[in-house]
């Protein structure tokens, strides 16, 4: 049986719940991750991912496979995140886990954690679309064309977002980037 995203979506459009769950299992971790990085808040990220998947379910009968399913879903998630950021005041990243490297000592780990927090904070302080472009490029490994597709803009606009975003990050993290090796 064809289990591509598009084939599963065709089944979801006919009200097939197992197909919907298969699709959700495949894409939810990535979508939660994107939402968490754009929103900086794990609880909100889960809400956004849930809202996006509900939209997949409810709108499936009207879905047209004009773009790849993942691109469309990512666009839904990013737009929901940007909407939420416009509406809600900033909430600190509290619940997100930290990557723990067992090979380093406690003091060194604390320093790494602090550095990670600073980088995370610098990314969170970027303007919304710059942050979205950075997250999609580095977290999802998307090309500039794919990011443009998700953000519904041109490739040159994405390049501008990346250039400005990185300029802002360099200003905020100059010493951290230099010490990062």
């Amino acid at each position: 049986m064809d289990d591509s995203d598009e084939a599963l979506m065709a089944r979801v459009a006919r009200g097939d719940q197992p197909a919907f769950r298969a699709l959700a299992r495949r894409h939810l971790p990535g979508m939660v991750g994107i939402a968490r990085r754009i929103l900086g808040n794990a609880a909100d990220a889960e809400d956004v991912a849930q809202e996006a998947m509900l939209r997949v379910w409810t709108h499936a009968p009207r879905w047209q496979p004009l773009a790849a399913f993942k691109t469309w879903l990512t666009r839904v998630v990013v737009n929901l995140c940007l909407d939420r950021k416009r509406r809600a005041p900033w909430v600190d990243l509290e619940a997100a886990g930290e990557i723990v490297d067992p090979s380093v000592g406690a003091a060194e780990q604390a320093e790494i954690d602090e550095r990670e927090r600073l980088v995370q904070r610098a990314i969170e302080n970027l303007p919304d679309r710059q942050r979205a472009a950075i997250v999609l490029t580095y977290s999802e490994g998307m090309s500039n064309a794919q990011v443009a597709d998700v953000l519904d803009t041109s490739v040159s606009a994405v390049e501008t977002l990346l250039v400005r975003g990185k300029q802002n990050l360099r200003r905020a993290l100059g010493h951290i980037i230099e010490e990062s090796d």
Partner: protein, 153 residues
Amino acid sequence: MNNEQLQIFLDSHGAHPAGWPAAQRATVEHLIARNAEARALVEAARRLDAVLAHTTSRLTDDEAAAARVLARLSHLPAQKKPVWRWPSVLLDWQFAPAWPRMAALACCAAIGFMVGLAGLDRTLEGYETFQTVTARTDIASIFEPEALTGARP
């Protein structure tokens, strides 16, 4: 290309040559080969890329969060069916060999026109009412509107 343009290029496309557009790769590589400052810019861009890739990398927490979201999706609402079903059906209609359908449509229109002219769609009851009204002899009935057409004399 100067170093300022190289910086913009690296910010747009990253420090890894695999992500560079083929049209500009040779120019960039040539600049890097002959310019120490350009090499430093590439190195700094590589460090920034590494920091961003590490910080935005997927966490194991995302899997757990996804499982929680999936559990919350156990009760799904009704799906939204397309409101404009008929227009979409008509839009999907294959008009490719159009002439038989156009001929059928023209025939239907012609038959409808003939039926309308011949009055085959009118019932006899209306005709009888008309006869009854016109058969009345009192003078007031002359000024009453016609029952069938509503026209006044």
